[in-house]
């Protein structure tokens, strides 16, 4: 692949193009922007968010996606406080968002692409739109809402959702009616609507492209036998998702479509558009989301009965197994193993009739088939699968990128984020069906691939978080503190009448002018647009006030705008206070103008008092140490180390054993046919030879302290006491891996015919002649130590199938039997499962209640190995006498992972793996900045998944290493040591475990020891401040002096209102 830095002709393009504005695209764009590379974020729809914006809750956390998943609060919400990197008034300076835009052409090579874009007009200028909605009010054209999947309506000119990004209305498509109507043009108070706008064609130069185009849900109408579109109460899972969403058409209350009644019985039909002849792959997410939807139904709808019809229960990620158990045991959700192929409606009641083999519920499934049962349901949800995005074929053609046999982006097993065209990378569901967490991992990983390719651009576009908003540098130095005057200027925005038509702003102005400290108060027609902003700046300058109160709209959308304005006027941005006169006042009290006016006065009175009590806040600057510590030298650790080193930063790679490679040493072939040993050789050779990687073999980290940008570690080299060496580094990556367990079950270790699956692989690889002699092999899946927590080790099913196929290849007459609970062949791996069945491998399901039994029986001189299992369809016991019994042992964390967790101050999850910051949105981060998690230390995963995960860590690491300085602190809790009694309340209360006792600090009465909160780590929630019995902790920007003012009686004289 050509490296951008290899170019000889002048400057290389500085930008990257990310195609697709869903979670994947947003994550990739933010990581690139944070690493100092300019990024175009291209989205075909008018707003960002993709499919995730339509989801209500995520499994298995049941987090509301509103703040964690979408750009509502700033996508990703990294700490120390919200970083709304894509909101209109706080967009990252390194990101250019292009909505309603399509990629039309692409020429050039990796490092130097010229891309033609075409932008559909939205007919509303987002810079002028104030979101008043008058255009939609007058628009006569009603359409089904695409965002609500047809379950409510919208106008032709409207927003997809109240909180869309960009935050503006748009005209869906201009029709002939629009040209003659033009009511929206007349209604718009800011002249933002222009029906004569033409499409725009542009060409941009980029060094690399990331495809994050997501997926298209399967069109359930293509299976008419399931009644979608014909039977009212048959809906798709995406529609259910909207119904259950708090921002959905019913605020999360699920109702029957036919009559609006609460459903009493709901059925989910799995694999609609997955695992069939047309779509012979598994969509990976449906088992989990159906379970989530059923659990939410159980929580919200009293006495509802939930029934899921499924072929397998594919709960193959961290803590998903417990989730399933919870669904079944605590929520009493019924799972039936079958695939429903037809249904009918009872037209009188609107009920749907399903027929399925009874007696096959989970607990009774091993006890015979049972008669055909008929049941009625109020609502049937079709769990639709994942199809390639609709524009996949066109984009692939334009870019010259190959698609695989299913229409998704073709990738290579060991380069999972690289497309067939150099310089074009892929992430998320466009590469293969996957859930949010893996899309996020892919996205950061793809960003890392780009950072490697464009390493000369890393850190070039500097930005700062010194302010409460993300900014380019260059604010004037602030005025010194102004002493006791604390004078305040007040600006009141009429918002083109949106506020002024309800609230009597003249009366409000008179009222606030008389408040203590107010030097000037003025009403502006529109504060947020250029004329208003200029006037506002003049107002501050002329009045000499050093504090500002703006009565306008929402903090969430406009606070950064006014903070920026005041920072440009050389005033600390924490000395501005907003009052929401629009969403919280005029818009909700339109019928009570006097009440609204009084409320406006009171809220402004409090705001003036609050801003007068405010203090300037300055963050701490820190230059990060430009090196990474990578712990673990397996495929994950090596991949992460190489990605960082290739980007031009030093890496200390610490491996406990004497050799690099980890588990890869024991993987001889993979189902897909690639050669893992070659991967191993390549990685080891590159790591050993890399000038920027310093290798510590046979070494361990004994101490690890500090915070992002400034960590210290002590490494013990060599055995025993060894030599100690101290390092300073900016970031740490934990890639400490996992191992195949070998607990003594099913005679393992007692009879040499019983082996682990990896031993069988060894035999197949090294002694195929002997393996070919085998005539009968039984394999048992899901073998765990007796007392171990139960979880799915994710890779074993495919590993077993791989070995079964190899056995069948070596000797087609060999009887291979696989005893399983659920076959986990998600994504395109389904084809190997199909292949195994085609080649005659027998699959026999067992349950936890009736696991297979293994015993020795004398057969003349020798002992026969007998495996018995209850066959669940016929209800009969099957007996096998295999020559070899291979066990799929669970994958467990590396030895001493718990010790490592202590050394690094990390948490463990159930099963003993390291616990990430958030299982969905931050799967490669820990709660603390600057320390990341990759590979099997997180959870069992395939090689390609470990590679993506470690690349994701590399990208996150590079966002720190490339910054000239990082800014820490801001709105954080600060302890007044002199009042601290060392009671440890804060230590125990903090949800993030941040306060610590420091014995170098003096507490109350000059006693030794006081609590201390690291400003680099504090998340700014204020929980400790509210709990401290000595009131020794204050949260900046929310100090008692600021919050505890004007909490009670309203002090607005009645006169003001009457005036």
């Amino acid at each position: 692949m050509e490296r951008a830095s290899d170019r000889v002709d002048g400057a290389s393009p500085r930008s990257v193009l990310v195609v697709g504005g869903g979670v994947g695209g947003m994550r990739a764009a933010i990581d690139l922007a944070e690493a100092g590379i300019h990024t175009y974020l291209l989205e075909t729809l008018p707003s960002l968010g993709g499919r995730v914006a339509q989801l209500g809750f995520m499994f298995p956390t049941h987090d509301c996606v509103l703040c964690r998943g979408t750009s509502d609060h700033g996508f990703g919400c990294t700490r120390p406080s919200i970083t709304p990197a894509l909101l209109d008034n706080n967009c990252h300076p390194n990101i250019t968002v292009l909505t309603s835009a399509e990629l039309r052409s692409c020429e050039g090579v990796a490092g130097d692409f010229r891309v033609g874009l075409w932008q559909r007009p939205q007919y509303v200028d987002p810079a002028l739109c104030i979101n008043c909605g008058r255009c939609a009010q007058v628009c006569p054209e009603v359409r089904p809402s695409g965002f609500q999947l047809g379950m409510s309506t919208r106008k032709a000119i409207d927003k997809s959702a109240p909180r869309s990004v960009p935050n503006a209305y748009y005209l869906l498509e201009k029709t002939a009616v629009c040209d003659s109507c033009r009511k929206c043009v007349e209604a718009c108070p800011t002249r933002a609507v222009d029906l004569d706008v033409r499409p725009v064609e542009t060409e941009i130069q980029v060094g690399a492209i990331i495809l994050a185009m997501g997926f298209q849900p399967f069109d359930a109408a293509a299976m008419p036998e399931l009644g979608y579109g014909r039977i009212a109460n048959v809906i798709t899972s995406m529609q259910y998702e909207r119904l259950a969403s708090r921002s959905g058409p019913t605020e999360g209350i699920v109702r029957r479509i036919s009559d609006g009644e609460a459903p009493k019985r709901i059925a989910w039909l799995q694999c609609v558009g997955s695992r069939d002849q047309q779509n012979p792959y598994c969509s990976s997410i449906c088992c989990m989301y159906a379970t989530k939807q059923a659990m939410l139904a159980k929580q919200r709808i009293p006495e509802v009965d939930c029934h899921i019809f499924t072929m397998d229960e594919r709960a193959f990620n961290k803590e998903y197994n417990q989730y399933y158990h919870q669904a079944r045991d605590t929520f009493d959700i019924h799972y039936t193993r079958c695939r429903i192929s037809a249904l009918e409606e009872d037209p009188t009641s609107g009920e749907i009739i399903l027929r399925f083999p009874g007696g096959r519920e989970h607990e009774s499934s091993a006890r015979g088939q049972g008669a055909l049962r008929e049941e009625r349901f109020d609502l049937v949800v079709l769990a639709v699968g994942i199809r390639p995005p609709t524009e996949a074929v066109n984009i692939a053609k334009t870019l010259g990128v190959a698609l695989n046999e299913y229409g998704f982006c073709e990738t290579d097993k060991f380069n999972p984020l690289t497309s067939s065209r150099p310089g074009v990378f892929v992430c998320g569901a466009f590469a293969s069906p996957k859930e949010i967490a893996e899309t996020i991992i892919d996205a950061s990983g793809a960003a890392a691939e780009v950072m490697r390719l464009m390493s000369d651009q890393l850190g070039q576009r500097t930005f700062s978080r010194a302010q409460p908003f993300v900014s380019e540098n260059g604010f004037p130095s602030e005025f010194p503190p102004e002493g006791s005057t604390r004078s305040v200027a007040v600006a009141l925005c009429s918002c083109s009448g949106e506020v002024g038509d309800v609230v009597d702003l003249a009366a409000v102005q008179r009222f606030v002018s008389d408040l203590e400290g107010v030097t000037t108060a003025e009403v502006l027609p529109i504060a947020c647009q250029s004329a208003g902003l200029e006037r506002l700046a003049d107002l501050v300058r002329q009045s000499g006030a050093r504090r500002l109160v703006v009565g306008a709209c929402s903090h969430r959308t406009h606070e950064p705008l006014f903070q920026r304005l005041i920072a440009e006027a050389a005033i600390n941005p924490y000395l501005v206070e907003m009052v929401n006169l629009r969403e919280h006042c005029a818009w909700v009290h339109a019928g009570d103008p006097a009440g609204a006016t009084r409320k406006a006065c009171e809220m402004l009175r409090v705001a003036v008092a609050r801003v007068r009590a405010a203090e300037a806040i300055h963050k701490e600057e820190r230059e990060p140490a430009r090196a990474a510590l990578v712990v673990g030298g397996g495929v994950s650790g090596m991949t992460a180390a190489l990605a960082i080193a290739d980007a031009g930063y030093d890496v200390h790679l610490v491996e406990k054993s004497d050799a690099l490679g980890g588990n890869l040493h024991h993987v001889y072939y993979v189902a897909e046919g690639d050669n893992p040993q070659r991967l191993l050789r390549d990685l080891v050779n590159r790591v050993v030879a890399h000038e920027r990687i310093r290798l510590f073999l046979g070494s361990e980290v004994t101490h690890h302290t500090g915070s992002v940008g400034d960590f210290r570690a002590v490494i013990r080299r060599g055995p025993g006491e060894g030599r100690l060496e101290e390092l300073r580094h900016g970031v740490t990556i934990m890639a400490t891996g996992g191992v195949e367990a070998s607990s003594p079950r099913y005679l393992l270790g007692q009879d040499r015919r019983v082996v682990r699956q990896s031993d069988l692989e060894e035999l197949l690889a090294h002694d195929p002649e002997r393996a070919a002699q085998l005539r009968s092999v039984v394999m048992i899946q899901c073998v765990q130590a007796e007392d171990a927590p139960e979880y799915c080790s994710r890779v074993c099913c495919l590993n077993t199938i791989k070995n079964a196929l190899r056995l069948k290849m070596l000797n087609p007459d060999c009887q291979v039997v696989i005893l399983y609970k659920n076959i986990i062949s998600y994504g395109f791996r389904e084809k190997f499962y199909l292949e195994a069945r085609r080649r005659g491998v027998l699959f026999v399901r067992y349950t936890d209640e009736e696991p297979p039994l293994v015993r020795l029986e004398p057969r003349g001189a020798r002992q026969a190995l007998v495996v018995s299992v209850n066959e669940h369809i016929f209800g009969k016991e099957l007996l096998f006498e295999p020559e070899l019994l291979a066990l799929s042992m669970s994958i467990v964390p590396s030895e001493d992972t718990s010790g490592l967790a202590k050394t690094f101050g990390l948490k463990l999850s159930e099963g003993g793996f390291l616990q990430e910051a958030h299982p969905k949105m931050r799967p490669m981060d820990f709660a603390d900045d600057g320390i990341y998690l990759a590979g099997l230390a997180h959870y069992p995963k395939f090689i390609e998944e470990s590679i993506a995960h470690s690349l994701a860590c590399a990208a996150r690491a590079l966002t720190v290493l490339t910054r000239p300085t990082i800014q820490l602190g801001g709105v954080v809790a600060v302890i007044d040591s002199e009042r601290c009694t060392g009671c440890l309340t804060c230590v125990r209360t903090c949800p993030f475990g941040i306060p610590e006792m420091r014995y170098d600090r003096q507490g109350v009465g000059e006693l030794g020891g006081a609590a201390w909160i690291d400003p680099a780590r504090c998340q700014g929630c204020g929980t400790c401040t509210a709990e401290c019995p000595a009131r020794a902790i204050q949260l900046r920007n929310y100090t008692d002096d600021q919050v505890d003012v004007g909490l009670g009686k309203w002090e607005v004289p009645a006169l003001t209102v009457a005036g």
Binding site: L66, C67, I82, H584, D592
Partner: protein, 149 residues
């Protein structure tokens, strides 16, 4: 005390800057009307809900106080809203001990999309406090401000 029609309760609502504030914004975007007698106070998280603030609000003359937090289990700061909930329960006991009806204080858990619920909460609390009449603290100190609307 008088529970006449001309008593207009004065309420203080604390919201976190995540779901609570966003729900109020959503109510605005959807133009859902609710009584104009609630002033909103922003907190970074309802984990910051200090018992002192709740008591001070009553001391300063609020007729009713409520807190709007993220749904339980959905706190942006993991469990700040649960800490807040525990403190509200504690504050209710204190209020009872000093002779203020604990129903004047309440905590609600909403998601940012629940604008209608936010408006409903304002109506519900206004009705509840109207029924209870002016806060005994307020009456002890100053007469309620006349409202001329």
């Amino acid at each position: 005390m008088s529970q006449t029609a001309d008593f207009h309760p004065e309420l203080t609502a604390f919201t976190c800057i995540f779901c609570g504030y966003m729900a109020a914004d959503t109510a605005g975007s959807l133009r859902l009307e609710y009584p104009a007698n609630v002033k909103l106070v922003r907190l970074p998280c309802t984990g910051k809900t200090d018992i002192q603030y709740l008591l001070d609000a009553f001391d300063q003359g609020a007729d009713g106080v409520y807190i709007v937090a993220c749904s339980l289990g959905n706190c942006h700061h993991v469990r700040g809203n649960e800490r807040g909930k525990a403190r509200v329960e504690h504050a209710k006991k204190i209020l009872e001990n000093v002779g203020i009806e604990p129903e004047r204080l309440e905590m609600f858990f909403v998601s940012g999309g629940m604008g209608a619920t936010f408006a409903e909460i304002a109506r519900e609390m206004t009705e509840r406090i109207s029924r209870l009449g002016p806060s005994p603290v307020k009456n002890g100190k100053k007469a309620p401000v006349e409202h001329t609307a």
